[in-house]
């Protein structure tokens, strides 16, 4: 961005601002002087640091965190000002934190570098002065002529110059850009020379911009004539980086946009560091504690000077001031004192919390990588964690934005069944394939016989003829390669399995058509191809039938059907039509409709894509008039579309319905179950897809995102172009109407339980398409925010929202809108293609699926999983646990530091505000690092308060922690109160004991360090045992670490007090601990205080426990209830299961 802006600024005077000129093959144009223009290279950079800027940049980033910055300040204060504790006490932990974080971030950036290099170092072929050179992708310059082979992705944005296909076209799939996996045709620049070497041309085109579907340019071809020939360039000439060449052996193109200026890269969004909501909570708590700290220091400073103002207290005879002290300004002294108090109390802000949180996140994320449930045997990979900062966010997701193609569906269309004349035909398995057709033994077939053979064949012929499918031409490769090609195609077409002779590549603009042709092929009718207007079909008897294709009445989304008119050998002219039921039924004889409608509706509710097939025999007159009408309309210069439409509508009437088909866009494994679990967990699922609305809608039905009873609110081009009114008005009207329906009239939603399953509540589904969305977003300034608001409110009241025909950036826009809406809900985006990258980056948590469409989504995601089904465990299992762990970790940390430092604060009231530390420096430093850090770390890595299986079975448990439940102010208050209570108890408990400091049986007395040590011992034990009380899952590690920490504390204290340490200036603790243990009173008070501190907690646990077993029962009950729901929910799963089983056998 910056560079572009800079370019614009700098290059403003030299070049026209809004266009760039490219010299094809770097050949100077004869007319203008050749100035080699400067463009960015073809390097893709997603990493943040380089070796050189890592240290300063990373340090800067880290100290931008308030906590780190705060500790730096404290450290500096300790270095500069004479303070009661040594700088080491805060310097060491800070250094540790910074180093650990830097190592972690460095490692993560190294991974990104590696991934970038994979793309940048990829070898491509570049034509230079007639030689073919292999070059690394990153070295491509604008103007280079690049050669791309079949199935390779384009390394940068290219203008197509040459194709090996005869018709100067090439096929491209942009699946990784916009999710559309069909083949798109792109054209070479017309009338360019075949010999690229001698081509001398320049291209003038617009500056890079992110819209994938827009491109404007001109090409000047210099031949011998003085005036260059001008060709206009459009998006059909532009091959986008990231797209893949299909069905074309080889193309050549000239690079126009490279590297970060390609449309794909521009559709990326800047990588901004994602912060988790937990971190925001931490920061909020930190501020609270900072306030407590400052006020404590202020109180102490004030009281100190109040106390000292009393005569005799300021400068007693035994402690006179030094000359320097006398000289310093009073206010400066006060300030220094304030700083000293700050330093003394600074431990209240737990420096080590950040290390522990970092470590917890870093180590914790390994559990995701290690999880065998995420391992996919197909790709031999498990889950991948790119950022460990967001683990807990997985437990907080409120909105899931999912891509459709490749995420919800496998993007494999499969012919499932058909119905002819009301008889259901279901393709079953290989055995019955010999019979060709089999009738299912379902109830329907029990009642009826098969349809007449004639009808059957008519139906199949219709399937074979009524389409625009092309047969993939055999390339001149040897058999092996061909097979490989076929294999790679299979992914896109129909999944493999049939014997080799049946292996046939089909290319079509819609995968449904391929599925239908394939379906017909299974039943014995094979489409062999179109040759000079003749369609060849091999029928069941292996005879070749030839049909002359007279007209194709193209598909369009308004008509929602397409037809062909063919002439049989015998000269009959037939019209075959297929289309959506709603558009076919009115146009056929009504008596046939009913029996087929039953099937169609049943299929539709099962989530299949249904099409009805009809035919009509055209009389000679009819055909003549139709032919005439069509010819005339095609030649019309004005209103061509309308005229064509009129003819189409006229021709497609009075047809005979033959049957219907059901095609399945196969869902990912367990897609429906996953979606159901997500909805059960209170997560709203939005489907954002670049695909067509019909397709997307049926997928939603199949995933059970839309239920039978869901009322769909549609806001699409179709509904908008209803009347004569302007779109905007209609939009306004519709929005208001839907808002009334979904928001105002809806009963107030009970926040927790009822959602999702309540049948009484009308479920709403909302459908919007890209065009309408941009209307919502881009309408007049005043209306825009209002529309947006209405739109958002409607969406939030719908169970599912489907957004189709979305450009990548629009997806991000939607995510952003929801993200910034009231309550700033946590969003998660999941997708598998480059078109999802922007939304993956935009959402709080981005999840990439290791799909077929390249690795871009995976690279830019925070987590990558092999399959959609893994999302369930990732959120409900791992996410839940991580959240509980880290929330407890954070609260516990604040708590343990509060009750650590509170006695220190209270002690100031008893030592004349002299900043005398209560604890020894060793204890101050070690408390957070050694004595109490390991148990909480172990807890935060291993705790499973509810076991994973139970979490997965009861999706509702996820709602219990929604909205950051464990880090809200109420639990924070509880922990704070607990900390204060403990702190007070420790201090005053020991203080009353020290009412008489003669605590040993030999009459000797204890001093201040004994006091501190007793308080500290109680503290360490209480804090550790408090954690032990909270631990629900005791593995041996927990045992080891908890008891080990306590043992270590005792051992350390003995050791520390047992030796005169030569490097220490003060031997404060010499034998203090041992002497303490020799006093019975000390023992008794320690035991008493620990018990008393834990008593409220035990009570709380026990008193909450009446719901304890209860809740367990309820859990059991819930799972029982889940069982009772399952008839309803499993009614369809059962069906789904049957056909998914079947589809497996078919394959």
């Amino acid at each position: 961005m910056l560079r572009r802006r800079l370019n614009r600024l700098l290059g403003g005077d030299e070049r026209r601002v809004d266009s760039r000129t490219i010299y094809v093959g770097h050949q100077p144009s004869p007319t203008e002087a050749f100035i080699p223009p400067k463009f960015c290279d073809n390097r893709i950079v997603s990493s943040k640091y380089t070796v050189w800027n890592f240290l300063p940049k990373n340090l800067f980033e880290q100290f931008r965190r308030i906590a780190n910055f705060y500790f730096l300040i404290i450290f500096l204060v300790q270095v500069i000002v004479d303070t009661p504790t040594s700088p080491v006490t805060s310097g060491l932990p800070l250094f540790f934190v910074i180093t650990v974080t830097a190592i972690k971030q460095g490692y993560e950036d190294w991974l990104r570098h590696k991934a970038d290099n994979e793309v940048n170092k990829n070898l491509v072929t570049v034509l230079e002065d007639g030689h073919r050179m292999r070059k690394e992708s990153e070295k491509i310059k604008v103007g280079d002529v690049v050669e791309v082979d079949e199935d390779e992705t384009f390394p940068c944005d290219l203008i197509l110059l040459q194709s090996t296909r005869d018709d100067d076209t090439c096929f491209v799939t942009t699946a990784s850009l916009d999710g559309e996996s069909n083949h798109k045709t792109h054209y070479t620049v017309p009338e360019t020379e075949k010999d690229l070497e001698s081509l001398n041309a320049t291209i003038e085109c617009e500056q890079p911009q992110p819209d994938l579907y827009k491109f404007v340019g001109r090409m000047y071809i210099y031949k011998n004539d003085p005036e260059p020939a001008i060709r206009s360039l459009g998006p059909e000439n532009l091959l986008l980086k990231g797209a893949t060449l299909k069905n074309t052996q080889k193309i050549c193109g000239v690079a126009v946009y490279t590297g970060m200026e390609t449309k794909m890269a521009l559709n990326y969004q800047g990588k901004s560091q994602k912060r988790s909501a937990v971190e925001k909570s931490i920061n909020a708590f930190l501020l609270v504690y900072l306030c407590i700290l400052v006020s404590k220091a202020l109180v102490c400073t004030t009281l100190k000077y109040v106390w000292q103002s009393k005569p005799g207290q300021d400068e007693p005879w035994y402690n006179q001031k030094t000359q320097r002290e006398k000289d310093t300004n009073l206010y400066l002294k006060m300030f220094t004192d304030f700083l000293s108090f700050m330093v003394l109390f600074n431990f209240i802000i737990p420096v080590s919390m950040y290390v522990t949180v970092e470590m917890q996140k870093f180590l914790g994320s390994f559990f995701i990588t290690w999880d065998r449930d995420f391992f996919d045997p197909e790709i031999q990979e498990g889950a991948l964690v790119n950022t460990s900062d967001l683990n807990e966010e997985l437990g907080q997701v409120e909105y899931v934005f999912t891509d459709k193609t490749g995420t919800l569906t496998q993007n494999n269309m499969e012919f499932i069944e058909c119905c002819i004349d009301g008889f259901q035909y279901k393709y079953r398995d290989a055995d019955t394939e010999l019979d060709g057709f089999s009738v299912t033994d379902g109830p329907l077939s029990k009642m009826h016989e098969k349809a007449g053979k004639e009808r059957e064949e008519l139906f199949l012929r219709a399937l074979c003829l009524c389409h625009t499918v092309q047969v993939k031409e055999p390339t001149g490769l040897c058999q092996d390669q061909q097979n490989n090609l076929m294999d790679s195609l299979e992914g896109l077409m129909v999944d493999g399995g049939p014997p080799p002779q049946e292996q046939r590549g089909f290319i079509a603009s819609s995968p449904d058509e391929v599925a239908l042709v394939k379906g017909a092929m299974r039943y014995g009718f094979t489409f062999l191809g179109l040759e000079s207007k003749k369609m060849k079909i091999k029928n069941r008897n292996n005879d070749i039938e030839m049909y002359e294709l007279l007209h194709v009445l193209n598909f369009d989304p308004v008509r929602r059907r397409m037809s062909v008119i063919v002439q049989t050998k015998s000269g009959d002219k037939l019209l075959f039509c297929k289309g959506a039921d709603s558009s076919i039924f009115p146009r056929v004889r009504q008596e046939e409709v009913e029996k087929i409608r039953v099937h169609v509706e049943r299929n539709a509710t099962e989530g299949y894509r249904t099409l009805c097939v009809a035919y009509k025999k055209l009389s000679i007159n009819e055909y003549a008039s139709a032919d005439e009408g069509l010819q005339a309309a095609r030649l019309a210069l004005q209103d061509r579309e309308e005229k064509l439409m009129a003819v189409y509508n006229q021709v497609e009437t009075g047809m005979t319905l033959i049957g219907a088909t059901a095609v399945e866009d196969r869902l990912q494994e367990e897609a429906a179950e996953t979606m159901e679990a997500l909805q059960g967990a209170g997560i709203k699922v939005w489907v954002l897809t670049g695909d067509k609305m019909e397709t997307a809608k049926s997928t939603c039905y199949a995933c059970r995102l839309f239920q039978r009873g869901t009322e769909l609110l549609e806001l699409t081009v179709r509904t908008l172009e209803d009347g004569v009114r302007k779109r905007e008005e209609r939009l306004h009207e519709l929005l208001l109407e839907y808002h009334k329906k979904a928001v105002q009239d809806a009963p107030p939603i009970k926040p927790s339980v009822s959602r999702g399953w309540s049948r009484a509540n009308q479920d709403y589904g909302f459908i919007i398409d890209g065009a309408s969305l941009s209307l919502v977003f881009n309408s007049l300034e005043s209306n825009s925010s209002r529309y947006k608001n209405l739109f958002l409110q409607i969406c939030q009241n719908c169970t599912t929202v489907l957004c189709c025909r979305m450009a990548p950036l629009q997806k991000a826009q939607i995510v952003k809108m929801v993200k910034n809406s009231k309550g700033s809900p946590i969003t998660l985006s999941i997708g598998d293609g480059a078109n999802d990258v922007s939304m993956i980056l935009e959402a709080h948590v981005g999840i990439g699926i290791k799909g077929k469409e390249g690795r871009q989504a995976v690279r830019n995601s925070d987590y990558a999983i092999p399959k959609l089904k893994h999302l369930k465990k990732l959120l409900l299992g791992h996410g839940h646990l991580y959240y509980v762990r880290i929330a407890h970790l954070v609260q516990y940390f604040f708590y343990k530091n509060l009750c650590f430092i509170l006695p220190q604060f209270l002690y100031q009231f008893f030592c004349g505000y002299s900043q005398q530390p209560l604890y020894d420096a060793a204890y101050l430093t070690m408390y957070n690092i050694c004595f109490t850090s390991m148990p909480i770390l172990a807890y935060s890595l291993l705790e499973q308060h509810i076991c994973v299986e139970l979490l997965l079975d009861n999706a509702t448990l996820y709602r219990g922690i929604a909205k950051n439940a464990m880090l809200r102010w109420v639990p924070f208050l509880y922990w704070t109160v607990l900390g204060v209570f403990h702190g007070l108890l420790f201090f005053f408990g020991v203080r009353y004991l020290f009412g008489n400091p003669a605590l040993q049986d030999n009459g000797q007395v204890f001093g201040n360090w004994s006091y501190g040590t007793i308080v500290f011992t109680v503290l360490v034990f209480t804090v550790t045992l408090k954690l032990a009380l909270d631990t629900r899952h005791w593995t041996w590690i927990n045992h080891f670490v908890i008891w080990g920490s306590l043992a270590f504390y005792v051992f350390f204290s003995f050791f520390w007090g047992g030796i005169i340490w030569p490097f220490l200036k003060q031997q404060r603790l010499y034998f203090v601990f041992a002497n303490m243990l020799s006093s019975v009173s000390a023992w008794l008070v320690i035991i008493l205080l620990i018990l008393l501190s834990l008593l409220p907690d035990i009570l709380l646990v026990v008193l909450r426990k009446p719901c304890g077993p209860h809740s367990r029962q309820r859990k059991a009950g819930e799972s029982g209830a889940g069982g009772s729901q399952s008839p309803r929910s499993s009614a369809r799963p059962l069906l789904m299961r049957t056909f998914s089983d079947e589809s497996n056998t078919v394959a």
Partner: protein, 362 residues
């Protein structure tokens, strides 16, 4: 005490797959994560569940243990005899009034005063004599440990009591400087004649302090030489080598009074062990009831900061000096636990019944 489910969810079902996998694939290195209990978060774990039922006995047990301990502590503490004499001299009627008024830390001669008091009850066992003060960071422990270099150049922390007239102060620092230097003597008065009570000054400091932590520079021989070139603390009368003229082993840094003083008190109102009155061999009480006189040589001024000075005579038990706090606390906590136990029992029973009755209709 806790209902616990021991949950060994070890890789029960997974075992069958893994070996076949490994054997079949041979050397093919799979990226498949290891199937260890740890990595799969399936470590066997003890999952304790605290319920009213399980915690109940604990409460009763705690109650039953704490109450007797508390009673024992309370009784012990009550049996400890303690007698306290405040000799600060704040009131005009007090015998030390004059001393307190006129004395300041730089007076050359000491001021003496006698405080008469009567013990109503005899003190039977060893009697410990404490002085109490009400009113802490400046010292150099390596100097006190006999370190030669520190002796000559004390730590900066000793400021402003580090150097005096160009000589290093030994012992340096404000704490040492403010050493409690009243001398207390106790006399038993029988028929107006005063019999001195023997006060033992050995064993008032921690053994480790006396023998390890505090060391004289250059051993114990000839302290005057050892401390040559140092200066006495500003407010001291005598140099550190002459603290105890009666016992040469009790001089320098290892003077027990000094050591006791250097173990700084925790709270502003504190007591420190001054002398021990040993129990006599015969059966007569250590301190019989009757009249006594406390002779104070008043050296330590506290009026400037509103301080108080006391002398406490106390016997000692296994729990230390007299302090009813622990006993009361134990009795209270014990009773609270017992009470809670009863409450929980009731809740537990009620809940159980309700639970049972609720179960029946199902």
């Amino acid at each position: 005490m806790m209902a616990s489910g021991y949950n060994a969810k070890e890789e029960d079902g997974h075992h069958s797959g893994a070996p076949g996998n490994g054997g079949g694939a041979g050397a093919v290195k799979s990226k498949k994560p290891d199937n260890t209990a740890f990595k799969q978060q399936r470590l066997p774990a003890w999952q304790p569940i605290l319920t009213a039922g399980t915690v109940l006995p604990a409460f009763f047990v705690i109650g039953l243990i704490f109450i007797p301990i508390g009673i024992g502590l309370f009784v012990t503490s009550n049996n400890i005899k303690e007698f306290e004499i405040d000799y600060t001299g704040v009131d005009a009627s007090s015998p030390c009034y004059n001393c307190a008024r006129n004395f300041s830390w730089n007076s050359t001669s000491s001021c003496t005063c006698s405080v008469p008091f009567t013990l109503e009850q005899p003190f039977e066992s060893n009697v410990f004599m404490y002085y109490g003060l009400r009113y802490v960071k400046s010292r150099d422990d390596s100097q006190l440990n006999g370190d030669q270099t520190s002796l000559k150049s004390p730590s900066k922390e000793c400021e402003p009591y580090r150097m005096s007239d160009g000589h290093p102060i030994a012992p340096c620092g404000a704490i040492a400087n403010s050493l409690f230097n009243d001398t207390l003597e106790l006399y038993y008065v029988v028929n107006n004649s005063k019999t001195p009570v023997t006060l033992v000054k050995k064993g008032i400091a921690w053994w480790t302090d006396k023998h390890v932590k505090f060391r004289n520079p250059g051993g114990n021989n000839n302290l005057t030489v050892a401390f040559q070139g140092t200066s006495k603390p500003v407010n001291w009368r005598t140099p550190v080598s002459e603290l105890d003229p009666t016992d040469p082993e009790n001089n320098g840094f290892i003077n027990e009074d000094f050591i006791v003083w250097m173990r700084t008190a925790a709270l502003p109102t504190f007591r420190k062990l001054y002398r021990i009155i040993q129990k006599k061999a015969d059966l007569t009480p250590t301190l019989a009831s009757g009249r006594y006189v406390l002779e104070v040589s008043y050296n330590y001024p506290v009026r400037s900061f509103d301080g108080r000075k006391r002398v406490i005579l106390s016997t000692i038990s296994w729990m230390g000096g007299k302090n009813p706090f622990l006993g009361i606390a134990y009795i209270t906590v014990g009773s609270v636990c017992f009470f809670l136990g009863v409450v929980l029992l009731i809740i537990h029973h009620k809940y159980d019944n309700r639970n049972n009755s609720a179960d029946i209709p199902n």
